[in-house]
Symmetry: C2
Subunit: 309 residues, 2 copies
Amino acid sequence: MTGSTDWEDFFSATPVPTELERVEKEASDFVRYHLSRGKPVALVSSGGTAIPIELNTVRFIDNFSSGQRGSASTEYLLQEGYAVIFLHRKQSKYPFTRRVDQETFLQAFLADANSSRVTVREGFASQLHTVLQEYQNCNASCSLLSVPFLYLSDYLWYLRTLAHVLSPLKKQALLYLAAAVSDFYIPKDKMPEHKVQSDGGPLKLELQLVPKMLKPLVCLWCPEAYIVSFKLETDISLLSKKAKEALLKYKHNVVIGNLLQTRKESVIMVKQDEEINIQISHEEQSKGIEIEQKIIAVVKSWHSEYMNL
Amino acid sequence: MTGSTDWEDFFSATPVPTELERVEKEASDFVRYHLSRGKPVALVSSGGTAIPIELNTVRFIDNFSSGQRGSASTEYLLQEGYAVIFLHRKQSKYPFTRRVDQETFLQAFLADANSSRVTVREGFASQLHTVLQEYQNCNASCSLLSVPFLYLSDYLWYLRTLAHVLSPLKKQALLYLAAAVSDFYIPKDKMPEHKVQSDGGPLKLELQLVPKMLKPLVCLWCPEAYIVSFKLETDISLLSKKAKEALLKYKHNVVIGNLLQTRKESVIMVKQDEEINIQISHEEQSKGIEIEQKIIAVVKSWHSEYMNL
């Protein structure tokens, strides 16, 4: 007999997302469809997780993340022949639409004053055409499944459920965990019910550690999958050391380490027997090349080796 | 001689946003242009303010706000003949584009497979046409100025500067403060430099009170403007009382009170001699009528009375 673990305690104390059953059903159908066609499936997590401070939540703690890494990587995984379950923070960057600027994209269109016709302005059509073709290809092959979340608790429930759903794919499953997941949270029984009033003086918060979910993910939920995790640091002296420690501790396949300040130009990719640097020059950036394209090329090649072992 | 106040101390300890000078110049030009045409100008604040926990910010505290109230109200203010400076949280809802769903709007277009032509699909054109016409009218009259922020400190610097810029409009200026502004923050000298490590155990945070900026706003920065503030509560028993207290304390013009749970269907609008309820029925909602349309109709009428005093 073993006692319950910290992650089991976390799930027993945390309500199930109302959409979980529907998401599980959709994801199972998705995996079955692609499994029957021999297509590898990736679960990409993306964006930050929110931690409520009050039960009726007005305030929350968030992790800095636009969703750039996850949404861009999803596009390159699709190009490399994966089907992708995109587990993402609501309103964070989304594959394809991320390339259309939210505040200004309406400038690309012209509404005819005398009819209900809408036309695409000269100069915008070719850029939009490129995005649309990729988007339409992706839709035609049913290769992208969208699963949005807001709070940490929902994210973790979805992660566990989707990992279970992917496990029949065995080595063909790729988990690419780019979400910026909070290390801390306030348990439900420690939260005030209502919005904390500002006339009570300074606010003291005490946050508990979130159990490390990589452990059950690797050992139990999806044990044969190829698992890539991320480490974001702000202190370069810690980066390589922390990435290697994580790999030793959780025994998964790859840690991608990046610094907040340089994450768009430089990452390290660490696996058991190798550490490589991936960089992108200013010249490449000015041509619109993204570092995620290079990262995914390496991930695909390493995952292919692993599948053939 | 008077000593320095808490809000003066806050600004002396808080770095000026790098874009402040450019924003001030653009806003001054904007106000001068509309002043010369006799058009009233509104400053609308919208979305939540982020509070960094670390100097190299990976984590922050945020206020729940999609920017719905501010972005929708901006559209109705434009319809009512105002020019609007839209001071908003980056990536929060934006006027006009908010009506186009981020994840799915690419479905509205079709990329021709054999040319670079892009067409709008049947069934999407009429909805897009309506949005575009309003957007194009707004652009043609140069009636919307966009000022984005992320952090509380930037928001407060912009608020002060824009209030100064609006003050020559006297009673024609409307301040509509719909942003969800944090009551608490961590001063720069109390923040750790790097990302807080999770191996240090539970995280304790102590947050200081943000000085109430309504006081200098009403007394000093823009003393003749018509000023509308918001109160969001989660406890209905506090709502009306808190709204009236705010009005007595800051001596501005209107407090709009709303509950987190019902904010899309019901608000109270409180001024010195009157308190009214604004509600929207399910039937109205199903027709696409938004509560912000009703709120802005009342704000306009009250502001007009005030201008004629």
